[in-house]
């Protein structure tokens, strides 16, 4: 955690900060909102993120990816702010391959007449957004960074401060949970008639 010096602020190249950091405000807000799921909290986190970014602008390496740098700060701010929701979610180890198999089992159950059909006949966006919001935080942050923000595993790993293998397993588990939620939604809408495959892991 970097400490900011109060008394002697660094000279900041305001123009550069404005040109490189500020354009990511929407992205940082979206990321903050994905973590907090609360607009007022996201609001605070975004302000704090940019304030810290400004104060530690001298640590930003020119030419590196500013969005990733800001996300890392944002993530740290979020972790600091979040003292209550501290329950540890068990990620079930790093056996990502089992998660993959489980995910595929779920999706196979849903395929039926074909994925296109399922996705095109039903407007899944609202259900999907809700399902993302309801994911436990560890899975949500992995899904948001990789699947929504389009980051590589190693970028997401560096922002979240975990090994790449952990990102993979969280990501795959998160995707599986999303698929389960979607399939449930589709079933409620009468689009999937299978009873679903219980995902108790692969033994």
């Amino acid at each position: 955690m970097q400490t900011t010096q109060q008394s002697q602020p660094h000279r900041v190249d305001g123009k550069r900060f404005e040109l490189e950091a500020l354009p990511w405000l929407d992205d940082v807000y979206r990321f903050a909102l994905s973590m907090t799921r609360d607009e007022a909290d996201a609001d605070d986190i975004v302000q704090e993120t940019f304030l810290r970014a400004y104060r530690s602008w001298h640590t930003f390496e020119p030419g590196s990816e500013c969005r990733k740098w800001l996300f890392t700060i944002c993530r740290n701010v979020f972790l600091r702010v979040r003292e209550r929701e501290r329950k540890r979610v068990d990620c079930g180890g790093d056996d990502a391959q089992l998660e993959t198999l489980a995910a595929v089992r779920v999706s196979v159950a849903a395929i039926g007449d074909g994925a296109e059909d399922l996705f095109s006949r039903l407007d899944l966006a609202p259900a999907l957004e809700r399902a993302i919001g309801e994911l436990p935080e560890v899975f949500r942050s992995a899904v948001v960074l990789v699947d929504v923000e389009g980051m590589a595993y190693n970028e997401a790993a560096s922002i979240l401060g975990v090994p790449v293998g952990t990102i993979r397993s969280r990501l795959f588990r998160g995707r599986r949970l999303l698929q389960e939620a979607l399939i449930e939604y589709a079933r409620d809408a009468g689009l999937v008639v299978t009873s679903g495959v219980p995902c108790t892991g692969v033994s």
Binding site: P9, V12, G14, F17, E18, L22, L25, D26, V28, Y29, R30, L33, E39, A42, D43, V46, Q47, F50, L51, Y54, R55, A96, Q97, T100, L101, A103, V104, S107, V108, A110, I111, G114, A115, E116, F119, L124, A125, L128, E129, I132, V143, V146, D147, V148, E149, G150, A152, Y153, R168, L171, F172, R175, L178, Q179, L182
Partner: protein
């Protein structure tokens, strides 16, 4: 390369997180396997749908203004 191997690496493949060689092998398998292709197609469509949720939340103007105000207060000359 058998189907199980493909299925195990399907997410990594979709995420382009494999070596070029592995990517090519899976690509070839998918092109000719009737069992794996629908799964691939499903996962891809699913990931597209997840990615499509992205555009939903531009930062409200109020937040933008608050951020700018805070930065000005901290000394940024805008």
């Amino acid at each position: 390369m058998d189907c199980l191997e493909v299925v195990r690496q399907l997410w990594d493949y979709l995420d382009s997180e494999l070596t070029d060689e592995a990517m090519a092998r899976i690509h070839r398998h998918l092109a000719q396997c009737r069992q794996c292709y629908p799964q691939f197609d499903f996962e891809r469509t699913f990931l597209d749908a997840v990615a499509a949720t992205r555009r939903e939340h531009p930062a409200p103007n109020l937040i933008r203004r608050k951020v700018l105000a805070k930065l000005r207060k901290a000394g940024l000359d805008l």
